[in-house]
Amino acid sequence: MKSYLPTEYMVERDQERCIRCKVCVNQCTYETHYYDPEDDTVRSKDENCTNCQRCVTFCPTHAITISKNPTAYRENFNWTLEVIKDIKKQAETGGVLLTGMGCDKPYLTYWDRLLLNASQVTNPSIDPLREPMEIRTYLGAKPDRLEMELENGDVVLKTELAPQLCLETPIMFSALSYGAVSLNVHESLARAATQFGTFFNTGEGGLDPRLYKYGSHAIVQVASGRFGVHPKYLDAGAAIEIKIGQGAKPGIGGHLPGEKVSEDIARTRMIPIGTDALSPAPQHDIYSIEDLRQLIYALKEATDYTKPVSVKIAAVHNSAAIASGMVRAGADIIALDGVRGATGAAPKVIRDNVGIPIELAIASVDQRLREEGIRNKASIVAAGGIRSSGDVVKAIALGADAVYIATAALVSMGCTVCQKCHTGKCPWGIATTDPWIAKRINPDIASERLVNLLRGWSLEIKDMMGGMGINAIESLRGNRLHLRGVGLTDTELRILGVKMAGD
């Protein structure tokens, strides 16, 4: 029996415009387009198209249009085209369906139900074009109080602060592992983070030694697979992040198919070429909170207590209690990754069904840590579905110190969120290690675009802060009075700790 799956997209080519230059043929890594020399015509195989828009972008005569295939099964609210196709695919293969990027299901995006405040009459807004507007952020544990002593009339600071990361904007690049993305992508992120004064996260695949020179702006990740983890790697980074979970796939480990494990990646990850790099679901030395404490302190010992240690978890049902334990276990930074967080490859059913929205996780974790009087002991970094500077400001007002962005960073480099990262054939040269495709990312250009994105968002953050009458980001952090909810239930408002608009 053969399943016929309707193609998702149709490629239409205006043959009068087409000049048979074959740019589309060369650009499409899915072999959608081909040249027919007999008819001197370029044709397309619709079934291969992912609607990544690479050919549309590069066609010099704008001859190509991609549209949704109107052919579908009978309309049904429950038995949608997606559901039926997934079942048929599994009936064919008996496998787990994989996908890329973040959850695309319309669970409530709370960012879109939160609105910001601005000053009118009783206090003045501050003009960021004319007044200083400070968004520098320090991540790391802060003491309860500072001890000062008078020595010869001078006030002398007696308290030694724990190591801190200094961010010139409260935005960092989230974990994108080497192997999931190419060296060029890693280099672009590293250079942009260094240039702007923020940090990129190496992800769980180690860091190519050629990028160690950007280590002062790297957060080096230690995940359950321990890929690429060795003393030099730990020493190279400015901070270390223990990856417990990821928003796109809470409860399971990272998967890198062997086809993507090229020579460089194999060397960096310290595994044989071509082998699958499958991170175990749990960290096998962490079966409870006391084990986490041991790993945190093992890493601190290994690096002489010179670097903050972050612990990243997927936002799940008991995040607040878990986060409290993490702080008590010695984490200097807590990274929370929400249900909309993206991935290079994850089982579709997990991506789309496991975890909770990041907005609720920030609110409940920040509140819990305050109730326990330990909010200062760790910084909170929010990840998973941050799409704009507006989302950043809302995340910080809810209680985050800073955010991680990954999808937004990739979009600035060309990504169109076609959700096919797991194929390793990203036509934009991002989620691939194929050298022929990977060279489509030029670190000179990509890093400039990343810096532009950080700059644009930072300017917008300053504009919004000025409107609120705030000129330092520490006065926005956790300041939920600058948020109001629209279209939310009393329970949602209570968990978010915000009032209804108009109240």
Partner: protein
Amino acid sequence: MKDLSRVNNPFNDDKDFAGCSIFGMMNLEGKRFSSRDPVKAISNMHERGNGLGGGFAVYGLYPEHADDYAFHIMYLGKEAKDKTDRLLNDSFDVVHEEEIPTREADVWNPPFVWRYFIQPGKRKPENQTADDYVTEKVMRINTETGKAFVFSSGKNMGVFKGVGFPEDIADFFCLDEYEGYIWTCHGRFPTNTPGWWGGAHPFNILDWTVVHNGELSSYGINRRYLEMYGYKCTMQTDTEVLAYAFDLLMRRQHLPMEIVSQILAPPFWTEIEASESKQSRTLRALRQTYGSLLMNGPFSVVVAHQGEMIGLTDRIKLRPLSAGTRGDFLYLSSEEAAMRLVSPVLDKYWNPRGGEPVIGRIGSRKVIEVLASVEGQR
């Protein structure tokens, strides 16, 4: 009164929104003087208030009871007084009590005001300081006993405040009969907190008082930070938050005022990086540790406690404050004119820069103006 915050902030707004006039006058030798000049000065800024709040704090007020805590309590009914009297007698040794003398004046709906001179006595647990014990009881009376409100609780000082223009409040409380070596004064222009006598300034806990002109845009996080340290912000006003911040940093953490001003109105990062390394390390640590106590948005404030009067504005000076000295006197005022009215000739007159405190200390003729390190950089 069951829900003080509701009374103070009846519409349950995020905080109170008010403009104001503030004035402070201190004799640096600790010599007491009458209400004549302070009342004259604050009355001169009549237009900055709207008759919905005025008040005064006076230091050196009760030399004959210098070692007793002086409670000023307002009552909205006899029952509340009976209940509070029982609580006071159960918790303290009441040395003396009397009605606070008042006279007919143009004020709105005055409560019944009483003062007590008390000692913590033997009922205070041994492991608790007298100050903490008194604070706890004040919070308890203000939240539990019903229609009673302690609006002054320090030693050898007192707060007088209510709903009316400051000159009328002075008249009502017969302030012409008192003397003190510091007077701080307030005239209020609230937009959302009408008619509650407890909501007028100065705000007080123990011998700390705050008169404040401004609105803190950072109120939401200032409040959440202080709540981590056990403060209950029952009044939902930003002035309360300022008072607790001073209490936490100065009384509980023993930080000097020069440091506290760097926490509430810190220098910019560019200034911190430009100062010499030891200084920048301290300033950086202060912002890193106490960032949530940065008072952002417009404010000017006169804070006083025994022997010290401090003027401070937000770091970009969105509310006015001018300062002057004449002989042994230090003046702080929203407007220069009010100062010139009571002392036409000043030895020194200046407008303190944003975030830089003016500190008057008893026995020290030298008024501390700025931290030397950042001088000249702003």
